[in-house]
Symmetry: C2
Subunit: 626 residues, 2 copies
């Protein structure tokens, strides 16, 4: 797709016919994200090459890196649009254009490239570009006091800092974060986006399509300084990328430093606001299409005909990124629970089983206007390569670890068949999980150590959905802190093999009562289920009228087509359809929400599996229970 | 208020300091509706003078009419803004400005003026203005092929036609209606608003604050021709005024003519869409603040913190106007039921008991952001004089009648203490209703006839909310058609006095299940009730967490302070508050919507009475029942 759409060759800095297309999301040119598509693809490719070498992929990465190097300006500048389409206009529209966002993804690509190729072919041009950015942005009179409309470079710079240790990289990220939303920024003592848009000669009533009103800077989380933000607002991907960087900045800084004291409470309160009031059962976020982001508290309709539901794939990836950073600040299974829900539901649903078709929006219910379907590609193709790099980086979500001379700590956040190999001083630790997760909650651990004994501490998450669980063998006294089982070196030396069991049963869970969603969701372990017309050929109203009886037994059915999964059958689970006749020609009625029609069987399948088995695209996650 | 704000003297065509204020609703100047405020006030004043002469009011009407006459241009043009603020720019922005809307209200004022004063002092300048409009608008090359952004003149012209019989008045109304939304209008064969905005040199991305996207002509019901509109959309006052005109056009035309065949189905389907899917229990319409109008089907949140609720007073008045026209086309109690609900709830709530404070927006629930309160006045003051003229015209809603040489038909749509006096040929019929409506459903009728016998037919509405009713004495065989009792001349001659009883009991009704509003509404007869903190000093969450037990007995309590009304007491009616703790730090939970806390008494008062008895502005109509 990168080749056929022109992206692959874009760093050759030649004109492409699509560059003159009218923008779909005015005023953002459609090709403006191409740099980031390449950056994300390189990042994902390098992660995956570590597991499985592929000659074509390897050659493509090398060729792309050569193109990127050749596209760089002598002063370090690197951007397709401002080199080919609008030369001379660089850094004049930080608010709407994605220059710094692109730079961030190229930096992340370069870091992955260095990890795999162990050379600086891609990192060195990026370091040169970062030097230019360091010189360009800041509070000196000769500098630009701005910050990116779409955060990303902040988190990339913090990842870069981890590798380079260069304080300038940390400081640039920090200044972008601290300056954001400053109403008295720069020498003009005004909001930077006001200054910038006036310089461009813009009428303040001329609105980007994603601004519902003039100066909707909350779209970019720049309405007030980050430290003053009370609720999570605006474009959900931007919000997640920004908070990921803020959380990482807190981690890098001393927690009791001014940075930590300022920003940790912000991250915590915006996270809580998001999880408790603005998240879907799948981990998806963002109800509103116009700004691809958050609505008001508890406004979580399932689909277009109910008022919205966006839940962009990239936004759920952003939640995983943020949760991963928060786990580094504070090991609490709550963060890993949300991360797991996102991974298996809102993120995985973004790609078809064959890896060839994608979703951008992930609604919880289809409608005649927006059926449940996948597409080969998108004009703004942020999601597909984002899924690639997320799956490539999966190990980074499954576990985290820290080591020093003779000590190692391993946190197991997610369970899956996997092996972690750690070098600690002169020893090697090999930690293996064997499991059929997410279909079976039994996980077998095996620890192998070569070399002198290492003081290993293992911390194992107890999922929030696990109503009961068992460990065999088990320490006499279990040490559990914030949802993690802590196992010490002594016990591990005597028990190099053990088993954790988190029985998975179908459950019916409910959204917060203030959502006023009268529905139940079928879940099992970390998997959220849906119903599709593929299993219910009689359905014609997107299951909107179907009344689910949550009291019928839910039977598990192991299936192997089109993939391994557990379906859940509710025999006679549909007790009928909504009886709406008392409201004919009425605004209100004494009639109650009784049902009409006969009982029918319901078959629930994992939400990520939707739109993989044919059908007419009728799908729903939450079925009406009252 | 007209005097202190500058409106009273505006037709003196002098500059007023407020004319340079920045628009609250850009690009509409705040003073732009002043002509209509005067027009509506004159209309209301003239109706009310008929019942009760007042020297000051009489003098003010006369002075205003003189000012209006002196403000008229030699060619008939008459408008404050385009005479004083933007001379030479008349008719250049039909889409956003309110020239023709103002003209409509001045025409309606002139008709009321003529009815009371029996002279043409106001009507004759308006006829001259209409002559100019007839010459200006149309499909000839030298004419403007446009139509007003805010309908009103159409219905005014049709009222005018009823008086003048001048076909030009009918034709102008009809052409405004038929041309509206034409995508290939005028000599340019394009949408008129596109042509017009290009002439003004506008950037199509420069959006009026009420346009969520470019070319949101559905805001003005001009996205497609009226005949093609499938759902009721946009600004709700505009929609009602437009449909009132369309219905009146159908009535004027032969029903089986092309006009009737084209437009009657439109009126019926948009009405149904509105009543069944987009109306609040109070008769209020319009959920969305940005465009002061309709949201999608069944999206009917109660207040700001739930996603909206606008329900403008003027819009509910518009529903009454439309219902009144529909009753003339087809006598069906369904239309009168909706008219009655609007009158006693969404409209009456717009004015305080002392007549000195008003509402514009009428939400069903308050929130910290929007408490339940009234204001002395508004910058856009459409609602207060609209209530005045509606109450002044009440008789027109209570009954309708038609007479010819020796026959009279009287339809009784609403019950209230009232007398109708009709001259039929050489006879006079006097029809009196005595009742304590809306607190008591007993209505005593008395018919007095002077002169030769008249063939009188009386049609009495049976309200849809009446679960039982009685007539004493009653014809042996009741002739009931579409919710009206038909009484013939013979029976009436023998029964000049009779009584109708529609017992009123408190009821709990529910919104359509697809609204997903888990609430019950307490009603009694035509009155919709609410709870206020004035009766519940303990309340601090706007009754959002309160769970109402609809099974407790509802006791009536007659009160006389601050006015006569029946309160409804539900002892121990609050069974507690929502239990939200199972959702702490969770997206979903197996917990059910159980309640916590103790039972408390609830006291329901009429919604129209809200914000009249002190308190902190906490109020809710629909209380949670599940």
């Amino acid at each position: 797709m990168l080749r056929t759409t022109g992206r692959y060759d874009a760093f050759k800095s030649q004109w492409h016919s699509s560059y003159s297309d009218p923008p779909t999301m005015w005023p953002v040119p459609n090709h403006q994200f191409w740099d980031s598509d390449i950056g994300k693809w390189i990042e994902g490719a390098c992660y995956l090459l570590m597991d499985h070498f592929d000659e074509d992929i390897d050659a493509a990465v090398k060729e792309l890196v050569q193109m990127i190097r050749s596209a760089q300006h002598p002063d370090g500048y690197l951007n397709i649009h401002y080199s080919v389409v609008e030369p001379g206009r660089r850094f004049t529209n930080l608010r709407d254009m994605h220059e710094l966002y692109n730079a961030g993804h190229l930096i992340e690509g370069a870091l992955a490239h260095r990890l795999y190729y162990k050379n600086d072919d891609m990192l060195s041009p990026m370091l040169k570009y970062v030097d230019l950015l360091v010189a360009t942005f800041g509070d000196q009179p000769f500098q630009i006091p701005g910050y990116p409309g779409h955060p990303e470079i902040e988190l990339a710079l913090l990842r870069l800092y981890k590798v380079t240790g260069n304080e300038k990289h940390l400081k640039l990220a920090q200044s972008f974060i601290e300056e954001r939303g400053n109403p008295t920024g720069g020498t003009e003592r005004r909001h930077y986006y006001d200054v910038e848009s006036e310089s461009r000669g813009e009428n303040k009533r001329t609105l980007p399509v994603y601004f519902p009103a003039a100066r909707s800077y909350w779209y970019q989380q720049a309405h007030v300084p980050i430290a003053e933000q009370e609720t999570i607002e605006g474009h959900s991907v931007r919000a997640m990328y920004l908070l990921t960087a803020v959380a990482d900045l807190v981690r890098v800084s001393q927690r009791d430093s001014k940075v930590g004291a300022t920003f940790l409470p912000v991250v915590n309160r915006l996270w809580s606001n998001m999880v408790e009031r603005r998240s879907y059962v799948t981990g998806g976020i963002g109800a509103i299409k116009q700004w691809e982001g958050f609505g008001i508290d508890y406004f979580l309709p399932q689909g277009t005909d109910e008022g919205g539901c966006y839940a962009e794939t990239c936004a759920a990836i952003g939640v995983m990124m943020l949760a991963e950073r928060q786990l580094q600040i504070e090991l609490d299974s709550h963060y890993a629970d949300v991360m797991e829900v996102c991974l298996y539901n809102a993120v995985l649903t973004g790609m078809s089983l064959d890896g060839k078709a994608f979703t951008y929006v992930n609604q919880l219910a289809s409608s005649d206007k927006d059926i449940s379907q996948r597409h080969e590609w998108f004009e703004c193709a942020c999601c597909p390569p984002n899924v690639t790099r997320t799956l490539g980086y999966l190990g980074g979500y499954v576990w985290s670890h820290s080591t020093n001379e003779e000590k190692a700590v391993v946190n197991v956040n997610l369970y899956t068949a996997a092996t972690l190999r750690l070098q600690v001083s002169k020893s090697v630790i090999e930690l293996t999980q064997k499991t059929d997760w997410p279909w079976n909650g039994d996980v077998y651990f095996n620890i192998c150590m070569e070399g002198p004994p290492v003081d290993l501490q293992l911390r194992l998450r107890v999922p929030g959905w696990a109503v009961s669980w068992q460990m065999t063998p088990s320490p006499k006294q279990l040490d559990i802190r914030k949802g993690y089982i802590y196992l010490g070196a002594e016990w591990l030396q005597q028990n190099s093999q053990f088993q954790l069991s988190f029985p998975m049963q179908p459950r019916v869970v409910r959204p917060h009562p203030l959502t006023t969603q009268p529905v139940g969701y079928v879940t099992r372990g970390p998997i959220v289920y849906c119903v599709e017309d593929a299993d219910h050929p009689w359905e014609e109203h997107h299951f909107k009228m179907t009344i689910f009886d949550p009291k019928v037994p839910l039977r598990e059915e192991a299936r192997s087509q089109p993939d391994q999964y557990v379906a859940i059958i509710a025999e006679n689970g549909a007790k009928g359809e909504l009886n709406m006749s008392p409201w004919d020609r009425q605004i209100v009625s004494e009639g109650n929400n009784g049902n009409v029609g006969e009982r029918k069987n319901l078959c629930f399948v994992p939400y990520y599996l939707r739109a993989n088995r044919g059908g007419r695209g009728q799908m729903r996650v939450g079925l009406r229970v009252e």
